[in-house]
Symmetry: C2
Subunit: 551 residues, 2 copies
Amino acid sequence: MPLTAFWHPLRVQVRDYLQACLKDDLAAALVVSVLLIPQSLAYAMLAGLPPQVGLYASLLPPLMYALLGSSPFLNVGPVAVLALMILQTLQLAPAGVSPSEAALVLAAEVGLLLGAAALLRLDALAALLSVPVLHGFETGATIAIAASQLPVLLGAQASGANLPELWSSARSHGFEAQGIASLFGIVALLALLAVRRLPKGLPARMAPLGVLLIGILAAWALDPQGLARVGTLPPLALHLTVPRLNTHLWMTMLPGAALIALLGYVSSLAVAESLARRVGQRVFPRRELMGLAGANLAAALTGGMPAAASFSRSVLMSDAGSRTRMTGVFVAGLMGLALVTLSPLLAWCPKPVLAASIMAAVLAGVSLQPYRDAWRYDRAEALLMTVVTLLVLGVSITAALGLGVLGAIALLLKRSARPHVALIGRIPGTEHYRNVERYQVELDPEVMGLRIDESLLFLNGRSLADVVQAHLDTRPGTRRVLLQMSPVNSIDFSGLSALKDLHEALARQGRRLDLSEVKGPVLDRLKAGGWDDWFCGRLFMSHHQGMRDEH
Amino acid sequence: MPLTAFWHPLRVQVRDYLQACLKDDLAAALVVSVLLIPQSLAYAMLAGLPPQVGLYASLLPPLMYALLGSSPFLNVGPVAVLALMILQTLQLAPAGVSPSEAALVLAAEVGLLLGAAALLRLDALAALLSVPVLHGFETGATIAIAASQLPVLLGAQASGANLPELWSSARSHGFEAQGIASLFGIVALLALLAVRRLPKGLPARMAPLGVLLIGILAAWALDPQGLARVGTLPPLALHLTVPRLNTHLWMTMLPGAALIALLGYVSSLAVAESLARRVGQRVFPRRELMGLAGANLAAALTGGMPAAASFSRSVLMSDAGSRTRMTGVFVAGLMGLALVTLSPLLAWCPKPVLAASIMAAVLAGVSLQPYRDAWRYDRAEALLMTVVTLLVLGVSITAALGLGVLGAIALLLKRSARPHVALIGRIPGTEHYRNVERYQVELDPEVMGLRIDESLLFLNGRSLADVVQAHLDTRPGTRRVLLQMSPVNSIDFSGLSALKDLHEALARQGRRLDLSEVKGPVLDRLKAGGWDDWFCGRLFMSHHQGMRDEH
């Protein structure tokens, strides 16, 4: 795509701005920033990183997404689920590397992987995460995040990235909570949950920042002993940070980076699609890949951590009336302003209140309905969803996503291992042929008509000869097999081999293989691939013509 | 499956034996044993194991396969490609474990994995290895095997499981060959290659054993210094060997065992299918899984190594007229006899002659034709095939198969990421609807008819709403969308979510979604899954009826 393709729409937008969209976008940016300030601090804490890392990840990434991305609704920055994945990945960093340094490497890798995927047009990889795997993962991650924040909320000492780790850590500390921290945390959590019940509007939108401010004021006024606070943030110093070029560090971060890139892309794309569908717009997956790649490289070069589109903030941005991607530019500006002016205030922010804001944000998304729906529809898929959730809670995100993807592929293989091939006969008095199992049709004693009902790919190709043989076993008098190919949209190299094997098997049995109604593009490919070198049968334009052939 | 299902066919066969098949099966067993003796010694050497391990892997495994398997043509025992995989896997065994002990663990794991796959009905996993991956792998493995035998053939000191390892090992030994070994090896190789040109028949079949015998006699008569020989075999002692129960050892062998199981199963199934097709018979993948599981467990318990069906020996067995699985029982008996009587003779067998027999056996299978065919048909798949070959040669079988499977899935995702959805219109004066791009049809200005041409699965589901939106963008006056579902054979949970998303998106745009000609089984599943709870459109038996609906 030429560079002008990025710049041109932006230029047009800027020109129309003063008349049409400026006010809406600025308002949306304000609303989003109000939520982004507590979230950026909280998600950095969740990822085991200093709070300013979250703020830096909220500055340039939305700006880069505005330049390169495609959706006017996405807010790109720190995300809760990614924060948990970052925490687990950083645990693997070699000794002597600080978490902040490792986070830069991770963000750089995520950006490079997404950029490579955009260049190689691998946007289709989003399909790897099927709905059961995604639902199962998100629920598990949400519960794991909420559980990991519970000790912070209560001022306790436990920590861990999954439930068994948390449990054993809590047990070794004797399950001790701290009164003053618990008070701040529980009150903040109850307040946030109560505000949820308000109708949508300004009060509901301001609630997260309001609770944060009240918490800060209370901490400042009472100054209770032993209450953990965010602490002094370093002054805004947006300079170039270059991730360490250490091969060992890059290699150990790579598997985590690949999963963060995949999940960040898929979840951002899902948010963008769902918001675009509301207004009948379309989403361009490659542009999303580029926007996220740019955002993560920006995070890596300016002291941030891996970023993606946040579901809650993007919905807010859409509801608040954002019209163009310029909203992202305003968000970046407002966050920069906040960093300069609010630092002394944010230093007083009590960590239990931040923990409460994380828990309130993620728990809103937990629903068991998808499990019930999946169970009603397909038990194997419901089982897969549950296993993925349990793996996230009990083992790790890597194990959950890895086994989830493999499980989905195994289910797909099971489902598609045998191609759907119907025995078809003639509807008396017509030239139409239909499935013998559903229609009263006439069969020819010597010519067997079969309809292949799907594309021939490596998933189902290897069973083709066997499926045809099973039909032949029921009608041993067959002298010729005529395959109706009209439903076949594509044939891959394995499918071609399957046709060749079938052709050869029938030839050995003294039976001829003919084809009818092969789609144009499919036939072109077959001919280019040397089909005429080995195929001894005939091709017919219509199945009826093929059935009547007397050669 | 009840036990009688295994025993009954066997009993019937035994009863008919004396009249009909005994002679044919005995003759086939003799011919196969003649090839199996040199191959079992050679493949054990290739796997870095003592020669008797190969002989033990040729004893009970064919017997167990005869009991549990389904094909009358397969000879199960040591296989060249698996031997290379065993060599690479045994390199990972922890210190203090002998290769023979590790081979028992490996065979036990392969047997247990195949048995578990049979119980879980996972026979469809064979489709994981697409034709390009399988071809690419086999060619690479064949060349790597031949290269690894070259130093043995020439009496040189180099060793290694891939080309870079072999090269650096040979260089560190100064590329020195040994005159007498080279003489034995090269003469044997030339003799074996020359015999290849003989017409099929007794002389051609006896050639491998003949060359071996001449080599043995020459070694015995000349007794040249420095010629490596097989050496004294321990006397036949078929007792129970129990694989070591060491968790660490089992865990390190597991990934290799999984690949050996997958590859052994897929290659055996492919041989069985190709031999069955010749005579119009069918193969039962689950029975093959059970037969191979039994064979590998037998190998683990009697001092052998992982076993599978050998392509060359199975073709020989089929050509020699094997009629029933009893042939396997006779092979086991003959191999036992050979172990007892031929041990002193085999001890004199020169290793360069064995190396020549390996090279001659595997090089027969190398062909560049599949690469050319794939290149003509699909460049991406040809590239995948080549990359897999290069990975086998340059890195390892694990890397090659792992990346090969991922690459095939990536190509599949790319190919199927967008569901095939055609805009259809009415053929004037009829009730038939066809693709507007191929037929002269009438379109309704307000009702858009779309035909979904494939099953809705997680691979393509997520793009459904986008594909429909793209059609809507060309006809913004559309008030209602009618999807013709007759080509849809199945809808998984992700596909159901895609339909739901599409339904919701259209509702938000004030458009209704209707369906026509939904297949019976698909509709049943949708209804069981709570379809009526959210679907506001209508279902029509025929597309024409749906287009004319005035509600």
